[in-house]
Amino acid sequence: MNYNILIGGSAGQGIVTLSQLLSKILKRKGYHIFLNKDYMSRIRGGHNFIQIRFGTEQIFSHSPFIDLIIALDKNTVEIHKEKLNENGKIICDESIDVSSDNLFKLPLKEIAKEVGNSKVFGTAAIGAVLKLFSIPLKDINKIFDEFFDSDLSNKNYQALIRGYELINNHFEYVEPQDKNHIMINGNQAVALGALAAGVSFYSAYPMTPSTGIMTYLAHKEEEAGIVVEQAEDEIAAINMAIGASFAGVRAMTGTSGGGFSLMTESLGLAGITETPLVVIDVQRPGPATGLPTRTEQSDLSFVLTASHGEIPRMVISLRSPADAFYQTARALNIAEKYQVLVILLSDQYLADYVQTIEPFDFKKITIERGIADASSVKENEDYKRYKLTETGVSPRLIPGQIENKTVLADSDEHNECGHITESAEVRTNMMEKRMKKQELLKEEIQEPEYLGAESPDILLVGWGSTYGPIKEAVERLNSENIKVGALIFGDVWPLPKESLEKYAKKVKTIVNIEQNYTGQLAKLIRQETGIKCDKSILKYDGRQINFYEIYSKIKSEVL
């Protein structure tokens, strides 16, 4: 059982603060939360909205159906009222010139004036919301004390109570259950995963929607004793990270589409110098500047082979905040263990949606640096950074680690010592050394997560952030006895094939669901396995597909 509240207004009207406060209250009450954002690339004006779903069980995606709208302007009412459920309600300030059935016009601003701070009118609205859902006020004052300075806390609390008193119960009360969860978004989960796994240096250039990772890390910079550096451009960002990694710290960089494109050449640098590196691309709709604050999964094909020439790499797409946390830590280990590039794919939807989940288990996180110890080089021998070994992985030393041993890395083709070579034989050996690691990575890959019916007729395939919407669609379809299963890929390169080949043999129809135009996962699947998807559900308008769209399309177009 869950409800969906939409808060809408123009940029700068304060819907972010409002939604933070409301979701915090609901979360502390013990509800599960799923909050997603729809915002424009501007600082003031326009139309933005945030949706908060809350309920008794964990929630995996956003919903197109609305129970309650909190409208900060007329626009919001007009744009969203169509999506209101039968029993749905709208609340807004009485000053807004709008009329609709189910509309409560409340004296919110009036209350704020009376309380003595014009900004608290939103809190009055929250009061009204709590009442509508019959949620008791108990303990909320504590939350306010955390959220606001003491004077403000008081005024807000007054406004809350005044709002609460304005209106009657409306929705059926549901008893919250879980209290132990955390409430986090994808960017924060990535940052926390990186922190846990010991990232000491993060360099980046601001770019929506990836900036949140850097911002969170910057907040912890001194406490964690790490360095977060805003670079002059993305090329500097990745090259600084490579330099730091070469010098011996765990380093990472992150960006979005255009910034990732600028890093392309340097991906090859990490590859040929065998410098461990994790790069996260928080996707947004391209091409070029595209839609800066919206969502898309259109960089998959690109990142699989980004950079001229050939290097081993691993590409992991993140499916949820929990996945984001654990996979970021895993990526950092894989990068150092194999001395390779690992690319993480997130997107604006995942970056910004906030979900309540199980607290992270920090004991599950291990740190495997893969740095050789001093004994690996004999005293009277030169150190060979690119020593040919059976696996392709050479013992990695850090500059300065051993007295009078030096470490040399090179972006040209090189011999075992790192010196430039033009030898055809050495070249061949070095290519094979590096590409052997691509094979090795196959031992690390994780099969996609399977959801749904045990013997499905229809197999959905997806990757990354569509996990939540697909999960909910699959459940709904199965509840109607439509036998659907879904494989949601996290690891996409090297592509895990086992489950896919197993299910593909059994089902009648395979449908790829992706937030892009060209069906990039489907292309990859065909390239790697020959399996051709029969149908595609593709969306490329910058808005995340919801479970109901998937559900409906399956019913109307696939069945």
Binding site: M183, L192, A236, M240, G243, F362, G400, N404, G418
Partner: protein, 287 residues
């Protein structure tokens, strides 16, 4: 105390042309490091791509031979990672001022403690003689057949204007002086830029050893390198009126590391103690 200079010798075969000005720089660098009593494992030299940029192969210290134009950012990353390393950038004029121009601007602003030696042969050597940012206006090249038509880049006035805390010029044909400037630059705390005039015997037939020798002159003992106005004047002296070599501008300023408490008051980042559970407390942000 000095380090045995032979410890800096590399086994790699040298690919520079006989007579190239790069040899003078390489030899001076070994001497400077030796006289500063630095050990091979204490030094990291980064470079980009070009003839000059091959230097890390010809000296036995830690080396990172990266991408064209990107010699500086890995140096900065490495210095942040391990503040105990002596980090030096050795690379070409095209690499530093052409493809890599943006990185100098902003690392001068960081005043991070690295030394940047530009092998300024006023030409693109490795790609066979196109004009570089410092090629003289009017000079004919393999690509600019009617002569370069844009003004040359002035690294000295550029660096001073951005507040670089150590700006010098030297000449690869005057080893003693070069060693002196190198040592001062390496000892300097902050971003030190040294533009080193370096004859390219294969592609720059204008700025030859002789051309430089006839023009360079050492800055007077009384020259006050802390006076910015004077420094600008010296920065614009060039060509037939004489080319001043030496430390043109110098200023005491806190460095990037001084300003970063996580680095300044702590052991180097590579020695940071960390366990995953230390991050557990950050979950409080999400309750």
């Amino acid at each position: 105390m000095t380090t045995d200079i032979n410890l800096f010798n590399s086994m790699d075969e040298n690919a520079w042309c006989p007579g190239c000005g790069n040899f003078g720089i390489l030899n001076a660098l070994k001497e400077a490091l030796s006289e500063l009593d630095l050990k091979p494992h204490e030094v990291l030299i980064t470079s980009g791509i070009g003839q000059a940029a091959k230097l890390p192969h010809y000296i036995n210290v830690n080396g990172f031979n990266g991408l064209h134009g990107r010699a500086v950012p890995p140096a900065v990353g490495a210095k942040i990672a391990n503040k105990n390393l002596k980090v030096i950038v050795n690379t070409g004029d095209g690499d530093s001022y052409g493809e890599g121009g943006n990185h100098i601007i902003h690392n001068i602003r960081r005043n991070i403690d690295i030394t940047h030696f530009v092998h300024d042969n006023q030409i693109y050597g490795l790609t066979k003689g196109q004009g570089s940012p410092t090629t003289a206006k009017g000079q004919k090249t393999t690509l600019q057949l009617e002569g370069v038509k844009v003004d040359p880049f002035n690294p000295i006035s550029f660096a001073i204007s951005l507040g670089c805390s150590f700006v010098a010029r030297a000449f690869s044909g005057d080893k003693e002086h070069l060693v002196y400037v190198m040592k001062e630059a390496i000892k300097h705390k902050g971003y030190a830029l040294v533009d080193i005039l370096q004859p390219c015997v294969s592609f720059n037939k204008v700025n030859t050893y002789r051309w430089y020798k006839e023009r360079v002159y050492k800055l007077d003992k009384n020259y006050d390198c802390t006076n910015k106005e004077e420094a600008f004047k010296k920065a614009f002296e060039w060509g037939d009126e004489g080319i001043p070599i030496g430390i043109i501008y110098k200023e005491k300023k806190s460095t990037y590391i001084d300003r970063t408490p996580q680095l300044n008051s702590k052991p180097p980042l590579i020695n940071r103690e960390w366990k995953p559970v230390y991050a557990e407390k950050f979950m409080e942000d999400f309750i």
